[in-house]
């Protein structure tokens, strides 16, 4: 499928932006998102092809507007819901509870 992820040869994305002395992770949550996805992969909650595919079938506007590790996070959340591991309602309820506890 010719999806948004298949970027080879596309035009119009502008110059390559580099960062001097770039850290491995820019935010603590990035390392955690990577670790959670890797543990889910290692534990067989989903496989690598499924994980790539869930990111590749994101709506193109979302794919382009979120950061790399957000794609990992949102891909894992979506896949775990599809697999029946964590339902969308369960996730939303936990998110709400954490937000209320933190405010």
């Amino acid at each position: 499928m010719n999806g948004i992820h298949d970027m080879g040869g596309m035009h119009g994305f502008g110059p390559i932006v580099r960062e001097a002395d770039e850290p491995v992770f820019h935010h603590e949550w990035e390392g955690k998102a990577l670790a959670l996805a890797r543990i889910a992969l290692a534990g067989g909650l989903f496989n690598l092809d499924e994980f790539r595919h869930v990111m590749e079938r994101m709506p193109p506007v979302q794919y382009l507007s979120i950061s790399y590790y957000e794609r990992w996070l949102e891909g894992a959340i979506a896949l775990l819901a599809e697999k029946g591991v964590i339902s969308a309602d369960e996730f939303t309820a936990r998110l709400t509870a954490l937000a209320e506890a933190g405010s």
């Binding site: 932006v17 690598l48 957000e70």
Partner: protein
């Protein structure tokens, strides 16, 4: 899945929600999370690839093994594949300049270079590395002679590429430890050359 872009605080909260549910269900354990973060922050990285390159520059028999079967030669150096992926090492020479990309996402030789920098995963690099490699190389300040061939290697989940940069001139007397300092991450992706001594 929402189509909104989240702010960093919102994203951090979404990560916490996912983490707390996975912990509660016994599907992850906190030490494993810390272990993975430590692996990627501290143990994997271009310092490993630099050791491979410096040895290849210094040891012709190792270099021959590396170019013939990079997966095994890299394991021989003590760097295990993280996901069981195979490795191919391609050699830059005055006649051939190699460049590595992952047009589809972010595949990268984790065992030798760690996680890729943001620019490697970005749309500008992914879209143009294969269609205009000489233009991309110039953006990195790397001019390749017209008569030299540019080869672009598009990585995938099962097969990861690393460039063996040319050994810089004037380094004949240098040992492996001195050579290490000349080997940059970008030179092993192929966007730049190794540093001059």
């Amino acid at each position: 899945m929402t189509a909104d872009a989240h702010g960093d605080a919102d994203v951090a909260l979404r990560v916490r929600a996912l983490e707390s549910l996975l912990l509660e269900k016994g599907l992850v354990e906190s030490p494993a999370i810390d272990e993975i973060i430590d692996l990627f922050e501290n143990r994997l990285g271009p310092q490993n690839g630099a050791r491979v390159v410096a040895r290849a520059w210094s040891d012709p028999e190792f270099k021959a093994r590396l170019l013939a079967n990079a997966t095994d030669a890299i394991v021989e150096m003590g760097y295990e594949a993280v996901q069981g992926e195979d490795m191919v090492v391609v050699e830059n020479t005055p006649r051939v300049h190699n460049l590595v990309v992952c047009t589809l996402c972010s595949c990268f030789p984790w065992a030798t270079l760690g996680l890729p920098p943001v620019w490697y995963k970005s749309a500008p690099y992914r879209s143009r590395a294969a269609s205009d490699p000489r233009g991309v190389l110039l953006e990195f300040g790397t001019a390749v002679a017209d008569e030299a061939e540019v080869r672009v290697w598009d990585s995938n989940a099962e097969l990861r590429y690393m460039v063996l940069p040319e050994r810089p001139a004037g380094t004949d007397a240098m040992g492996e430890d001195e050579l290490l300092a000349l080997v940059t991450r970008d030179s092993m992706i192929g966007v730049t050359r190794a540093l001059a001594p």
